[in-house]
């Protein structure tokens, strides 16, 4: 009964939202018609109905393939990293580097070096790998150590623990990873389609439609992209909902985790792992170029970038342009990141206080994620102009959603018994939040921070590329136009290095805080 009533409220909320949208759109109230009414978008979709099937099919193919490949790699890598903990340290640099690669920087390189669907599949897979790998590792390493102890007592080894305890307890986490990965795959494929010059795919359609001054079309494409991503999201949300019920601990684990860093490692071996972590991304970068045999003029190896930036005749001017761009990009990235995270944290917390709100808000949050930024940004320009506020909003919208999903997941994993304990002693909902839920969600807050750093950078760069004409995004675009391959590689490498450095900073803080709180780090 309560369920059906909730649905009625839900439906009513959505109906109100749609009605407001329709009225506002029909009256051209927002930026003189930049937001068309829903009926106008639907009419547009109907008029274009013969165009969509081939485009949608092409996007589905690329993003589906990328989703499968990226997630398989992510789960396999996650399991591998947990079974052999030292490998996580060796691969850390590479993992973060893969995650932090700005898609707008590598899309032209992929279109050049790979053919057909491959650039799209690679970009889609890259969007999935890190999220799922992280979710797998979090899920596996947050398993109940008492169950693992039990198996050890009976003579079981790591592998058995993995099979019987960790895999089961990791499932909800992996599913929530897949949930985020699904829209990522669609967006990755669309971004590659947008730039890559193929005939079909929603991204190609978007490019052709961009110059038409028909917001209905842009929104139509956005709606279709959102539907695809939303459906994928929904499937994994339902699955996750089912599994979480069965695998949540009934009581709280009170044992203190082992001290971070495996006891067996000597200073020398940990130094070695650290060195490997730094070197591995560069090794992969170098191998990628060597294996694909891209001509040297186009592809820059790490050494090539150093030469370009410090030894070439253009070094002086390159450095100056780079520093000026960084000075424009970094401050706004920091502010956007902070806003996005605080917003996500507040909402995740209040979703505990007002559970209905979470469900009502989710579709809106999803739309901001699945509406391709290349389509959304021109529309946002009409709403917000070309100033700092635009960059800020784009950044918040790309960082907020993944942070929110992780935080909401973390909060829903707090064992009910603990919360009920606080309640039983007469704590109010707010007190319970402060004492139980917020501290318990700390590992997830840190994980969310690490996850959103590169996205913040990407959001800023996309806004700079399409709207404000400042900073790294603009530098990248200009370099592409002038075939300044040295600068293209430099910007890509630098943004990855920045993201990695920031990531490391978060990790250091995280280790200290969580250790003091008696929690394990969610790598």
């Amino acid at each position: 009964m309560a369920g059906s009533k909730q649905w009625a409220v839900q439906l009513r909320n959505i109906a109100i939202l749609l009605l407001v949208w329709e009225v506002v759109g029909r009256l051209d109230l927002i930026a003189d018609g930049a937001l068309p009414g829903i009926s106008e978008i639907l009419i547009g979709l109907w008029n274009d109905r013969s165009d969509y099937p081939l485009h949608v099919w092409e996007t589905l193919k690329a993003s589906g393939l990328g989703f499968v490949i990226g997630n398989l790699l992510g789960v396999v890598a996650g399991v591998f990293f947990v079974l052999i903990p030292v490998s996580l340290r060796v691969f850390r640099g590479l993992n973060i580097a893969i995650f932090a690669l700005p898609p707008i920087a590598i899309a032209p390189i992929l279109s050049l070096t790979l053919s057909g669907l491959t650039p799209r599949v690679v970009l889609a897979a890259l969007g999935c790998y890190f999220v799922t790998m992280t979710a797998t590792v979090i899920g596996l390493s947050q398993s109940d150590s008492r169950a693992a102890d039990l198996i050890r007592v009976y003579g079981g080894g790591n592998w058995l623990i993995m099979r019987m305890v960790q895999c089961r307890s990791a499932l909800p986490s992996i599913l929530s990873g897949l949930r985020v990965a699904a829209p990522n795959a669609v967006l990755g494929a669309i971004l590659a389609e947008f730039g890559g010059g193929g005939r079909w795919g929603l991204g190609a359609y978007l490019l052709g439609s961009l110059g038409r001054a028909e917001p209905e079309r842009l929104w139509g494409i956005g709606v279709v992209a959102t539907l695809i991503a939303g459906l994928a999201y929904g499937v994994f949300a339902v699955m996750s909902h089912r599994f979480v019920g069965a695998s949540r601990a009934v009581t709280m684990n009170m044992s203190v985790p082992e001290k971070a860093g495996d006891g067996s490692s000597t200073p020398l071996s940990s130094l070695l792992a650290g060195a490997m972590a730094v070197l591995l991304p560069f090794l992969f970068w170098w191998a990628f170029i060597r294996l694909l045999e891209v001509p040297a003029m186009i592809s820059k190896t790490p050494i090539g970038v150093v030469e370009y930036l410090f030894l070439s005749p253009a070094a002086q001017s390159a450095q100056e342009r780079l520093i000026a761009a960084l000075w424009e990009t970094l401050p706004i990235t920091g502010i956007g990141l902070l806003c996005g995270l605080s917003f996500a944290f507040l909402l995740a917390i209040s979703s505990r206080l007002f559970p209905g709100f979470l469900r009502a808000f989710m579709p809106v949050a999803l739309v901001t994620q699945t509406m391709p930024l290349v389509a959304l940004t021109p529309l946002l320009v009409l709403l917000l102009g070309r100033g700092t506020s635009l960059t800020l909003w784009v950044t918040i919208s790309v960082t907020f959603f993944p942070a929110f999903v992780i935080l909401a997941q973390g909060i829903s994993m707090v064992p009910r018994a603990t919360r009920e304990l606080a309640m039983a002693y007469g704590a109010s909902a707010r007190q319970e939040l402060r004492i139980i839920t917020i501290p318990a969600s700390m590992p997830y807050l840190f994980a969310a921070t690490r996850l959103t750093v590169p996205r913040a950078l990407l959001g800023v760069m996309i806004a700079e590329w399409l709207a404000t004409g400042k900073g790294l995004g603009n530098l990248l675009n200009q370099s592409r136009g002038y075939m300044d391959y040295g600068m293209i590689w430099t910007v890509a490498a630098l943004s990855v290095i920045l993201a990695v450095v920031f990531y490391q900073l978060v990790v250091v803080v995280e280790r200290r805080v969580l250790q003091r709180m008696g929690m394990s780090t969610a790598e």
């Binding site: 165009d51 050049l112 052709g208 439609s209 110059g211 038409r212 021109p378 399409l466 404000t468």
Partner: protein, 326 residues
């Protein structure tokens, strides 16, 4: 001959759906056509009408070419595709090509030009018209970042301080212009005025070319290597393409509708738009010396204009001898 023609038609039809690699049975007996790949500079629109026509009518097949055509996009740097060998020939903007030759030593040669006059220009609304460079003073002008230095050069040539014009990035979308968020934008004058008219406004425009920035566009570029090894194919391509363009311009309204379900299907643009484009580009493409021609004084004008923006080209970056062989 007839057989090759029909094979070409077959391939053309198949290519409309996907990149066709199916060889009809007869091809084993036909004279082996040499595979030849061209990379266009943008998505399928009337800008490439001559090539679509040449493919559909079998002009390339008659020259012994098995042409594969790849459309472009913002991430596709046309010159890069001939460096990597993914295309034999590409259409470029002369500023990037000549800059790459002079500064990076890229082994390119320009063997023809589709546009004698670059179609980019300043587009504004008739209600707030900008008819000459001086009108830009104190106005907001949206320019694709790549073209900023071209605009600055044009301003300088006309004695205008670039600080007096507010230049913002342009993302191929005329909406801000129609909405009055900007006063003018730099775009293809062959294209955007139509879009603006569809939105109930009227546009006016002038070419950068007519105010001193005298450069070509869609220059036909190959690598020196290709020039050496595939000279016969290149001449064949030029001849077939010229035929395609000439046929297209007999009546520029005839062909775009025929491609509604092939070349132009699903591009997100309308056939009326392509017809407008096709008509508008005719005077920019046609030349008394024949389409693609590179007249000596035009080359010089192009090099002089590029010199204004610090791109130092020279006559030997052009090879006009293939045009003589058509």
């Amino acid at each position: 001959m007839d057989m090759k023609l029909s094979r070409r038609r077959f391939l053309g039809a198949a290519a409309a759906g996907a990149a066709a690699s199916v060889m009809p049975f007869g091809s084993f007996r036909a004279m082996a056509a040499s595979p030849f790949a061209m990379q266009a500079s943008w998505i399928n629109d009337a800008e490439f009408a001559g090539y679509f026509l040449g493919i559909d009518k079998g002009y390339y097949a008659e020259e012994g070419l098995d042409l594969s055509y790849a459309s472009g996009g913002p991430d596709v740097i046309p010159e890069s595709t001939i460096i990597t060998g993914r295309a034999d020939l590409t259409l470029t903007t002369p500023d990037t090509t000549i800059k790459a030759i002079s500064e990076q030593g890229a082994p390119f040669k320009i063997i023809g030009t589709q546009y004698q006059k670059n179609p980019i220009g300043i587009v504004s609304l008739k209600s707030n018209p900008i008819n000459k460079p001086e009108d830009l003073v104190g106005k907001t002008l949206a320019v694709p970042p790549v073209n900023v230095i071209s605009v600055e050069a044009m301003l300088k040539l006309n004695g205008i301080d670039k600080a007096d014009v507010n230049i913002v990035p342009y993302a191929y979308d005329p909406t801000p212009l129609i909405k009055g968020e900007i006063d003018a934008s730099l775009d293809f004058t062959t294209n955007v005025p139509f879009t603006i008219s569809q939105q109930g406004a009227e546009a006016t425009s002038f070419l950068l070319y007519d105010f001193g920035f005298t450069i070509f566009n869609d220059t036909v570029v190959v690598t020196e290597e290709t020039l050496k090894t595939k000279r016969k194919e290149l001449v064949g391509w030029l001849r077939a393409s010229r035929r395609g363009w000439e046929e297209n311009f007999v009546d520029p309204t005839v062909w775009p509708p025929k491609w509604a379900d092939s070349w132009f299907k699903g591009t997100g643009r309308t056939i009326e738009n392509e017809i407008y484009f096709n008509k508008a580009q005719q005077p920019l493409v046609e030349s008394p010396n024949g389409i693609f021609s590179l007249a000596e004084d035009d080359i010089e004008a192009c090099l002089t204009a590029l010199g204004q923006i610090g791109i130092n080209g020279s006559r030997d970056m052009f090879d006009t001898t293939l045009l003589e062989e058509i």
